[in-house]
């Protein structure tokens, strides 16, 4: 996939150099692998996240748990608040736009964020279309509950995919479902005969070329992270063992009793996800985890994972 509009300029190098290529966008996500991306709402929280070893922070006004509680329309964060976080840390800063709200995305690009999350956690602005992500220099991450959804987002230009999970619940069950679903569907593609891939593409509602690429690679052509509901070090390690290449943690850190310690513990458990001794050590004395919500108790219209198409 290389239909990115090339932004060829002659910048400081004096040679021809190109920004905003698919390789530079997807490559950025490759650098985040094995790491933890943390939701933060203030520069102070961003510093705690960086101190704990986060590979990036997600700057937002309210963590999903509070968006859930407060209700109403959730939109892009205040630029002042995003810039405050950009100035506070040296690691990459991501921020969320509403689904299909390409103007919010334009604003985030102008603010210089490193990655845009076109996120179902905010109130969708378009019930049919997602933003055309090829039109941006800033790379995008998008959520997916299954392979077809992931491939449609990649077709639109997403350079990174994450599970949707059920953000703000502190309950990992939905992220597990999405990751197992995506991985399972990839595994089934790998075993298919050539001629079966055409029908698979039809059923997945995704372009054949992309389906064929996934069948050959045995993985998505972009990085796959887990997101939604991770609250403990063991949750993060579970997602890694299920095949996530890294972990987003939203409300799970700053809605817990001791955010700094929990953040550092989740970072360590992500790196040593296959070493139960390390996970045991970092899980000791962490204090209270966030109070979770049973996803079965959520009314249908309060399920963020259903947003996006």
């Amino acid at each position: 996939m290389s239909h990115t509009p090339p932004n060829t300029t002659a910048p400081a190098t004096g040679e021809t150099s190109t920004t905003g290529t698919a390789r530079v966008k997807r490559g950025m996500a490759e650098q985040l692998k094995g790491g933890v991306i943390m939701d933060v709402v203030t520069p102070e929280q961003a510093k705690i996240a960086e101190d704990a070893g986060a590979v990036a922070v997600m700057a937002l006004e309210r963590v999903p748990a509070d968006i859930r509680k407060d209700g109403g329309v959730a939109s892009m964060s205040d630029p002042d608040m995003i810039e405050g976080i950009i100035d506070a840390v040296s690691i990459p800063v991501m921020a969320k736009s509403r689904i299909g709200h390409f103007v919010e995305a334009q604003v985030l690009q102008a603010l210089g964020v490193d990655y845009i999350d076109e996120s179902e956690v905010l109130t969708p602005a378009d019930e049919v279309n997602h933003s055309d992500k090829w039109a941006f220099t800033t790379p995008f991450v998008c959520g997916a509950t299954n392979l077809g959804e992931a491939l449609r987002r990649i077709t639109e230009g997403a350079a990174m995919i994450r599970s949707k999970g059920e953000a703000g619940t502190g309950n990992v069950v939905e992220a597990v479902r999405h990751l197992r679903q995506i991985r399972g569907e990839i595994n089934r593609l790998r075993c298919m005969a050539e001629d079966e891939l055409y029908v698979a593409a039809k059923n997945l509602q995704a372009p054949y070329e992309l389906v064929k690429e996934v069948a050959t690679l045995g993985k998505l052509p972009v990085v796959l992270f887990s997101a939604g509901g991770v609250a403990t070090p063991a949750d993060a390690a579970l997602m890694m063992q299920l095949g996530a290449e890294g972990v987003f943690v939203g409300s799970g850190i700053f809605k817990s009793g001791d955010p700094a310690q929990r953040a550092a513990a989740i970072v360590k458990a992500t790196t040593f996800h296959d070493d139960p001794k390390v996970i045991a050590d970092v899980s000791r004395g962490l204090g209270e985890a966030m109070v979770g919500i049973n996803c079965d108790d959520l009314p249908e219209n309060e399920r963020y994972a259903n947003r996006g198409w």
Partner: protein, 208 residues
């Protein structure tokens, strides 16, 4: 060392965080045995080490937390060949600018490296890069929130500069560092170049 008895050089990829898989794949193409290393004891029987791209502050924190920093420094001081791309370049620098105040590096190359020197992700770019010692024309340089080399000591060989003279690849003895990510391109010439350094160092140890 046990690896001396095997036919193939063993190169570890520091697997605390970052694009480990891409380096493992590129090293396999360069005809060495590649394996991830995360624990001090795993450093014992490797002939070379790659420090991948990633987030240097995270890598540094984890290296300290899991008691890797001391053993890494000791091995590299004792002559272990090492190659660092992007964050790996930062980790191999004796001095860094624009890092966190408490950011530790492994060090080894007498250079000062500026972190995120080219800017944020919107300024990340691709450009063709000539590297001294790597034949076959320029490699595709993928620069992602990349560092550059601000200055080098007398013992450091500059392998590559951009047209504006910015230093983006260096070598000092058995240590190699690039601002960019050859592991993302499918062109394995830089990894082959490093594999040759590893094999030469290994032959020298073997002949002692």
């Amino acid at each position: 060392m046990s690896s001396l008895s095997s036919t193939n050089a063993v190169v570890g990829v520091l697997a605390l965080q970052g694009d480990v898989r891409e380096h493992l794949a590129a090293l396999a193409e360069a005809d060495v045995l590649a394996r991830p290393v995360r624990r001090p004891e795993e450093l014992e029987d490797i002939d070379g080490l790659v420090i991948p791209g990633g987030e240097s502050t995270t890598m540094s924190k984890l290296a300290v937390a899991f008691d890797m920093l001391g053993p890494l420094r000791a091995r590299i001081r004792a002559g272990l060949p090492a190659y660092g791309s992007c964050a790996g370049m930062i980790m191999l620098a004796d001095k860094i600018l624009d890092g966190r105040d408490d950011q530790e590096t492994i060090g080894g190359i007498d250079m000062t490296v500026r972190r995120n020197a080219f800017g944020r992700q919107n300024e990340s770019f691709e450009a063709a890069v000539e590297i001294a010692g790597v034949g076959g024309g320029p490699v595709e340089g993928v620069f992602i929130r990349a560092p550059w080399v601000e200055s080098v000591g007398a013992g450091v060989e500059v392998l590559s500069r951009l047209a504006d003279e910015t230093i983006v690849a260096v070598r000092q003895g058995n240590l190699l560092a690039t601002s960019f990510h050859p592991e993302l391109t499918g062109d394995h010439r830089v990894h082959r170049f490093f594999a040759e350094i590893v094999r030469a160092a290994r032959a020298e140890i073997g002949s002692r």
